[in-house]
Symmetry: C2
Subunit: 230 residues, 2 copies
DNA sequence: ATATAAAAGCGTAATTTTAACACTTATTCT
DNA sequence: AGAATAAGTGTTAAAATTACGCTTTTATAT
């Protein structure tokens, strides 16, 4: 065992905060929690926690997400590390922000059991503690960029979805209207969806065909040099 | 003053490591240092240090870069935070990686004074300690993406450069040959360079006109919705 | 039964962007 | 004077993106 030569260095608390995005067929939402400890008790906050000795950051983010929402197997990505000296008034804390994408419809039961968490649409979200608004802002812009170059949108939808739902999702993420025909043509040319022999009847009399993301095919295409791009 | 409620949480050492990119008219290089303390003394490493209580990460990265290279006023960007539990065998350490872009020609005097640092071309770089190779890999792919969407390439060049130098730089970053005429047409259409009444005579008999990046104009254009894109 | 309403589904033409491509010019060196 | 070297410069073809409107299906109301 090597003797540590880092004895004189300052140690810090390493927090994690998760921006959890959901989509409810209409708009993008984020999941917030009412903080039940000081400082800032009672205020709305991102879901967070602290890194433990025996885990890495991805594991910690997964643990925190599971503990506070009951959710498992969720798409997550490290976003940025925030370090303003007085960002947390109680104590010097560095926070690594993660963002996660979940399908509200599929996971809502798990969430509803937990009382202090609540979905807010991006535009109506309350003031957040500390620098959490910076985290959310950065997460939105990362999500926006990512959605154009990786097929992560599907994480926000149920496994089966209509083209209209998919389009609405992209419109919500990119915050702009898209042309129906161009959008469908685009996805058709990507050739990574499976059209099911099944219709969703909830949104129209005619019914709309359901599609699935063909993850296997996507992976194979990527190996052959395919680049997802909206 | 609010009483801290974080008493039971583990604290960690927070390190920073900098991937410093340079360009020598031919290829991309990174600056490495021969480590003069344990663990891994004598091995090649990224330039690094530890976060101090009174500074944020950007400040720490700037300080570390200045201390180890004498360089100031350098383009830097936070890259990613690495946290594998045993990434540093001596002690649990989380490391926030930054990458920096510098113009070797302009700054080389400052660097040469410092003996233990050395430039390596990306392809001939030695094995690095810990997870530093992962950091370098990630930095390269970030640099590649960033160079396509932000005018950061100029940070790697002298203030005055020829179009050929600029093209070689992009070829080095993107690791592919570009067409001379298309490249120049592209930059002309961006309209963010100033053509000087001055030629660089070092590379040809005819001489090549020098250009400057018009930062002010770029900023104005961005305000009007301009998006830099190669 | 018929009419109405509401969303689904579908293709083409115009425009813009990107990619491919080769010769002339200026200058130094011999 | 001519040979050698890198600089400088436009056009055409191909591909990608954008704009755009009518028909189909079927549940519901009359």
């Amino acid at each position: 065992m090597v003797l540590s030569s880092y004895k004189n260095e300052d140690k810090v608390l390493l927090a994690l905060d998760c921006i959890i995005f959901g989509f409810d067929q209409e708009e993008l939402k984020i999941l917030l929690v009412k903080r039940d400890f000081e400082p800032e008790k009672g205020k709305w906050s991102l879901i967070g926690g602290f890194l433990k000795k025996e885990e890495n950051l991805d594991e910690a983010a997964t643990r925190i997400l599971r503990y506070l929402t009951g959710l498992n197997n969720i798409y997550m990505e490290q976003l940025y590390t925030f370090s303003k000296v007085d960002r947390d008034p109680a104590e010097r804390t560095i926070s690594v922000a993660y963002y996660a994408l979940i399908d509200i419809a599929t996971h809502d039961k798990a969430l509803l059991k937990q009382n202090p968490v609540q979905w807010f649409s991006l535009k109506e979200a309350p003031k957040l503690i500390f620098d959490h608004h910076l985290m959310v802002e950065k997460a939105i812009s990362r999500l926006r960029r990512r959605a154009l170059t990786k097929p992560i949108g599907f994480e926000l939808l149920p496994p089966k979805f209509t083209m209209r739902q998919l389009q609405k999702l992209y419109e919500a993420i990119l915050d702009k209207k898209l042309d129906k025909r161009n959008f469908i043509n685009k996805f058709n040319s990507l050739d990574i969806l499976i059209k099911l022999n099944e219709k969703d009847m909830s949104s129209s009399k005619k019914g709309a065909f359901l599609f699935k993301f063909d993850e296997e095919k996507y992976r194979r295409k990527v190996e052959d040099g395919f680049i997802f791009k909206i």
